[in-house]
């Protein structure tokens, strides 16, 4: 069949069902925007994980006078404790895993605390000796924090060993749940757009049943009978996916780069090139889903 003929058939079908076509465009637009946002959120989580996990340290908190009795029966950690910790960190068993470690005393901890909580009321009440003296440990592989935890937990004079990643994991969990929620919404919307496409295609076929009857009578091939309908769904979904691609890129440029990145300068955010990575995915998803939905719809319609 000639291209021009198919094109005019498709255009006619789109015009005849304009309201339904617009609703397909809108529903695919919104559902794919959710898909795109969820994918970007995943990319963002990945980037932040890379960035923060690499910088995550293991903290060995030493006892202070106000530490709980149960873990620190002897109060403030003595010089002996510090020597013991230091020796163990430098020992042949642990040294190969440790990139570097350093000691933070009460005064440095106090200075850091004042900086971090500047302007907060708590900064005025806290005293230097209430803050833990700490050994900060950077591992070659942050995944192996267990080695430090196991060898220092329970040591006399050590209040607690803490992997900073445990805080990060909580944040990432929240972000993950958000992106899962976006994906669930996206899936529901995709289901409804698939149903909408197949209904529209069936309506379109119904309104052209005379043509279909004649086409079958004169021996038009199944392919050429079905193609205009499939293209109809694909064109509508394609427009919707272009809109969603625009929305996703807009989100990256104006919200992430223009707003978030300016306010949180020390965090790395998804960039336009990450957004560009998502765009072909959205368009492919829209086109493939629409082709499958309308293909199935028209095949089932023609069987009856």
């Amino acid at each position: 069949m000639r291209f021009g003929f198919i094109f005019s058939e498709v255009a006619q079908g789109l015009r005849r069902n304009i309201a339904m076509v617009i609703s397909i465009i809108l529903v695919t637009f919104i559902s794919l925007t959710f898909v795109g946002t969820a994918s970007l959120l995943q990319l963002q989580i990945g980037q932040m994980k890379n960035y923060w996990y690499d910088r995550a340290q293991v903290a060995i908190y030493l006892c202070t006078d106000i530490s709980p009795e149960a873990t620190c029966p002897r109060g403030e950690a003595s010089e002996d404790v510090k020597i013991q910790v230091q020796e163990r960190l430098a020992s042949a068993t642990l040294a190969p895993f440790i990139e570097e470690f350093y000691f933070e005393d009460h005064e440095q901890a106090f200075a850091n605390f004042q900086e971090q909580f500047a302007g907060n009321a708590v900064a005025q009440y806290v005293k230097a000796e209430q803050l833990n003296e700490t050994y900060w440990v950077n591992l070659f592989d942050p995944n192996q924090s267990q080695i430090i935890t196991e060898s220092f937990t329970g040591l006399a004079g050590v209040e607690e060993v803490r992997d900073q990643r445990s805080y990060l994991d909580q944040i990432f969990n929240i972000l993950n749940i958000a992106s899962l929620a976006a994906i669930s919404v996206a899936l529901l919307m995709l289901v409804s757009s698939v149903l909408l496409i197949s209904t529209t295609i069936r309506l379109s076929a119904f309104s052209r049943r005379r043509e279909l009857g004649i086409m079958r009578l004169v021996g038009a091939s199944n392919f050429s009978i079905q193609l205009p309908f499939i293209l109809e769904g694909v064109v509508a979904a394609f427009i919707g996916s272009l809109l969603s691609a625009g929305a996703v890129l807009g989100l990256v440029v104006f919200f992430v780069q223009g707003f978030l990145a300016e306010r949180l300068p020390f965090t790395s955010f998804v960039s336009l090139s990450d957004g560009m990575l998502v765009v072909p995915l959205l368009i492919a998803a829209g086109v493939v889903l629409a082709a499958a939905a309308s293909g199935l719809a028209i095949r089932r319609y023609l069987k009856i």
């Binding site: 000639r2 043509e211 004649i214 021996g219």
Partner: protein, 229 residues
């Protein structure tokens, strides 16, 4: 050309078969009238020849194709070798006469060049050369059936199946249509035509196959419509 052997066709939910052990041979160039009371199975038989349906048992061969075993994807290519017209014309109301004929060529992938030549030719042949740009609603019933005939023969089919082509037309108009179908037959096309029109059958004196309750009760080389009941 057309060979129907011991065909039985039973529709779901009906007690008696629409066609009951029907056998029929039609040669190249034949002109065959299918007659019989309403519901005797004429349309059912033609639907089998067009492979719109398959029989429950028996075989149907048309133009060398075994229609019972013909895979669905090859059915369209088989149908291109046939022309069909019906009582209700089946034209597209929003397309002109010429576009209606062109449409049937476009959907089977004929080139624009072929279409531009074949359409005026065939419209001239059926006597509608002047009315190529009219819409079907601006034509009389007889003229609409001429358009349908033009569409059926434009692809030079070996067989023309006509199911009550004059069923909606007055006697004079019917005669014109029959003259046209006759000339199509004289040009070499095999014609199978179902009809209730006694005067046409009597006048044409062609082969007559009479069906009754799904069975062939008469097959005459040159015959009339049958006894008045």
């Amino acid at each position: 050309m057309i060979s129907v052997q011991s065909v039985t066709k039973k529709y779901k939910g009906t007690p008696r078969p629409a066609l009951d052990q029907v056998s029929l041979e039609i040669e190249k160039g034949d002109f065959v009238f299918l007659v019989g009371a309403s519901g005797s199975g004429k349309s059912s038989l033609m639907r089998l020849m067009l492979r719109e349906d398959v029989p429950n048992s028996g075989s149907v061969h048309v133009l060398g194709e075994n229609l019972v075993g013909l895979p669905a994807r090859r059915v369209p290519f088989f149908r291109r070798k046939l022309g069909v017209v019906f009582q209700d014309f089946r034209l597209l109301p929003n397309k002109t006469v010429a576009q209606n004929v062109a449409f049937s060529l476009e959907v089977i992938g004929k080139s624009q060049g072929f279409i531009q030549e074949a359409v005026p030719d065939v419209l001239g042949l059926v006597g509608l050369g002047e009315k190529a740009d009219r819409l079907p609603s601006e034509l009389s019933g007889g003229e609409q059936q001429r358009v349908a005939l033009a569409r059926a023969i434009v692809n030079k089919p070996a067989i023309l199946l006509a199911d009550e082509p004059t069923g909606n037309l007055d006697p004079t108009t019917s005669e014109g249509i029959m003259a046209l179908i006759d000339s199509i037959n004289l040009a070499g096309t095999t014609v199978v035509m179902a009809t209730h029109d006694r005067s046409i059958v009597d006048k044409m004196q062609r082969r007559v196959v009479e069906l009754s309750a799904g069975q062939i009760i008469r097959d005459q080389a040159t015959g009339s419509y049958g006894v008045r009941s």
